[in-house]
């Protein structure tokens, strides 16, 4: 009997038009737990590094987390793992909602999609019945509309749908995969789905998911509903806070350029709340979680859509417009299926190039004068890959190089070809420096999260924080207690902080728990409902896999190194591990490189950022070290200079 997981993957070859239900190896679950861990293993085994992300040979994998379908509250984030056309590297993009649990109830832990369909299709999964169906009638339809149409067509109101819109169909690199109130938005996963000509996946499942130790697991979960509901430090507090000053006064407007420190005021708050009351129809949650982090927006003339987090502001801030514009354009981008982080930056970048005379009226015929109209104009070009839109749809980094004429200078906010959060700060913060440099997600919100971002100035508050900080291993308590304002922590501390922050995300991404209940939320208030010290027991009770905190960390490290190895095999090295040049005004290159050396050393990587044979073998990733040696990435004798030796 398999607990928590179903023990089967669904293999779909869109070129052949075939579907297969394939049993999985329980040993792989013990090694990687599930989610992106096992997905990374499949990508390692089956997608050679020279594979073009948009080619039929790339795999697109939808993974449930190990705890999906169990009663563990907040285990509902589905991983979409593939190789990204934007970065050329591995991407793991996550979405909440109900999709993963439904897939598990249908009897599958993963959907592994290969090939390319001859025409637009959708995949219909109803328990054991799986069909690849014609989707020509859905061509060009919005993501949310597609879901509704499929529910009607298949007469299944409880169908869960993940769909691409026009952006995905046209292989735009900002394209998302939208599902209900959520979306997998990072690094062009929607473009990969579009390249496979897969418009949507519709899932219905009515099977059981079994758990190992029923009574004990329920006892634990039963208490979690109230705990999570009451815990003000988890979920998305900003979803219910009308004071937007944190974002609008501190983050940079336009093409990540201008800080408007006094933008927020009472009058503006009143206006914004007034509009919010008009357009918001409900706060909504995800499967089996009492937090209501999403809300439903009905904007006149737009299809109903769902909003969460910073998306509420990104378009307004990029275009220097008021909030009404954001609600309005999100109605379009949600239907098109476009990422709310990178898209506004791409559009703002184009506006800057136009104002600098690099893009001209020839590139942008009849380009309007005002900010909002310009964004609508550019969005239309990008989503259709029309004219200059075809260039911009490749993202800021690639577009800058295709346009040339000095456009590269305006690409100032990308790391590893990914548009970063528009944030420009004063003095370098070393844990963040390391996270920006080395994070395989290339998106800071999915790397940071367990350790506070800045020192706590008031010693009394600091002491209190540490006292109640049951999520933290002891050494972090000491480092936080000793961290004074305007001081840097010791190098060892910064390295450990980066490692712990990312480690918790790798845990979430394997078991399917939401980062807002764990890996992202410890930094604010220090009381995430899930952490290193209670998750091992929860995993044991649900899945029957005995683990302690060290064991869980080891799985997390194994998955982290395997993901690293996927990128190393595709050419990632130290030379691209750097934050946007102007992320901090005051930098210290020598000290920064010392930190990077120390981090690589801590990780057991070479001076070039490659996991050593010893590190890989210790983590039972011998198949990686063997291939690294075969490919000449590592030498058999291990003669590479390690970061430790260099230091």
């Amino acid at each position: 009997m398999r607990y928590a997981e179903t023990g089967f993957n669904l293999e779909v070859d869109l070129s052949q038009g075939s579907v297969k239900r394939v049993p999985t190896d329980p040993k792989l679950t013990e090694l990687h737990l599930g989610g992106q861990g096992t997905a990374a293993r499949i990508l390692w085994d089956r997608v050679p590094p020279e594979t073009d992300p948009l080619s039929p040979d790339n795999l697109l994998i939808f993974s449930t987390g190990l705890l999906h379908g169990t009663p563990v509250p907040g285990a509902n984030r589905t991983s979409v793992s593939t190789f990204s056309p934007l970065t050329g590297l591995y991407v793991n993009s996550l979405m909440g909602g109900w999709f993963g649990p439904e897939l598990k109830f249908a009897g599958y832990d993963k959907i592994i999609i290969s090939g390319e369909a001859p025409g637009l299709v959708y995949l219909y999964i109803n328990n054991d019945r799986v069909e690849i169906r014609d989707a020509s009638h859905l061509q060009g339809k919005g993501c949310q509309e597609t879901a509704t149409l499929l529910q009607k067509e298949l007469k299944e109101p409880k169908l869960q749908v993940a769909a691409i819109g026009l952006a995905g169909e046209n292989r735009v690199f900002q394209a998302t995969i939208e599902h209900a109130n959520s979306s997998a938005s990072r690094h062009g996963v929607g473009a990969v789905m579009g390249a496979k000509r897969l418009k949507a996946i519709a899932v219905r499942g009515t099977k059981d998911v079994y758990v190992a130790r029923a009574a004990e697991l329920w006892k634990t979960c039963r208490g979690k509903y109230q705990e999570i509901y009451d815990n003000k430090n988890c979920g998305d507090p900003m979803a219910h806070d009308h004071n937007e000053s944190f974002h609008v006064d501190n983050f940079a407007w336009g093409n990540a350029r201008t800080r408007r420190k006094d933008y927020w005021n009472k009058e503006r708050e009143e206006q914004w709340v007034g509009l919010w009351k008009e357009v918001r129809s409900r706060d909504s949650g995800c499967y089996n979680c009492p937090k209501d982090c999403h809300y439903t927006i009905s904007y006149p003339g737009r299809h109903t859509y769902f909003l969460k987090c910073f998306n509420k502001l990104t378009y307004s801030m990029a275009a220097f417009e008021e909030i009404d514009f954001n609600y309005n354009i999100l109605g379009l981008t949600s239907a098109y299926g476009m990422d709310g982080f990178s898209t506004p930056q791409v559009l703002a970048f184009a506006v800057e190039l136009y104002e600098a005379g690099i893009l001209t009226n020839e590139d942008l015929p009849d380009f309007p004068a005002d900010g909002a109209a310009r964004f609508f104009y550019l969005l239309d070009k990008v989503v259709r890959r029309e004219g200059i839109g075809d260039v911009l749809a490749d993202g800021v980094y690639r577009a800058a190089r295709r346009i040339g004429k000095g456009a590269e200078e305006y690409d100032h906010n990308t790391t590893k070809k990914v548009e970063q959060v528009p944030l420009k700060l004063g003095v370098v913060n070393y844990p963040f420096f390391l996270m920006y440099c080395t994070g395989e997600k290339m998106n800071i919100t999915q790397i940071e999260g367990s350790f506070p971002q800045a020192p706590i100035a008031d010693p009394e508050k600091r002491r209190k924080f540490v006292e109640n900080w049951s999520a933290a291993p002891e050494r972090f308590k000491k480092w936080l207690l000793e961290w004074e304002p305007r001081k840097h922590m010791p190098i060892e501390a910064s390295v450990n902080v980066c490692d712990w922050n990312e480690a918790m995300h790798y845990v979430d991404d394997a078991i399917g728990t939401c980062a807002w209940l764990s890996s992202f939320r410890g930094q604010f208030g220090g009381s995430p409902p899930y952490h290193l010290f209670n998750l091992p027991e929860i995993i044991a009770l649900a899945a029957g896999i005995e683990l302690d905190s060290d064991g869980l960390l080891e799985v997390s490290r194994r998955n982290r190194n395997l993901v690293r190895a996927l990128n190393i095999r595709r050419g990632l090295r130290r030379d691209v591990e750097k934050p946007p040049e102007d992320h901090w005004k005051i930098r210290d290159p020598e000290m920064e490189q010392k930190h990077l050396d120390a981090y690589y050393e801590f990780k057991g990587w070479t001076n070039d950022g490659v996991p050593t044979r010893e590190t890989l073998d210790r983590l039972k990733l011998e198949f990686v070290s063997e291939e690294f040696i075969r490919r000449g990435i590592l030498t058999a004798g291990g003669g590479e200079e390690t970061a430790a030796e260099r230091a």
Binding site: G69, T70, P71, P73, W98, F105, Q144, T148, P157, K158, A180, N181, G205, T206, K207, D208, V209, Y210, V211, A214, A215, L217, W218, R222, Y225, Q226, I228, Y229, S281, R282, D283, S284, G285, C286, Y287, N288, C289, P290, D292, T296, S298, H303, T304, F306
Partner: protein
Amino acid sequence: MSDQSKKKIVREIKVDLDKCIGCRACEVACSGFHASPKYSSFNPSRSRIRVVQDLVNDVYVPLRAGEYTAAECTGRQTFKIHGKQYSECNFCPASCPSRELFKEPDSGLPLKCDMCADEKMPMCVEVCRPGALTYEEREEERADEEPALGEVETGLKSLVHKYGAQKVMDTIARLSQND
């Protein structure tokens, strides 16, 4: 007729539609509670409470499974409540041939809510922290359950009118033998 009355405890789940966030924790808890052994498996489609949900039209109705019915209603009523359209099926608890709701997925047998009799309150209510579901027990005065002869007579008259006295008498005779 007797004017005696009896007291009866009514166990009631109150539903505030505006507070439902669609998380379906109620379904999770219910399906676990009714699994055998308890909480050993989870499957919302076995749950005796389902959230009838239409995200786009903002319809969120947690609905408790009631009686089985062999035939679906003749025709439907729809309601417009604060601008939102609801079908009467949105509020109907029946396990009914017109829909999949409240049927065991394997056997198709009807499911019925038992209010988690041995718990302090139904589990769906306990896990609904946003407060869409709340629980109340109250005492209600009930008229003595003496058969209301007047009503029986009215019913019989209508049957006699429809089928004729002989058929009705034959049926009653047959039913009494079965007893």
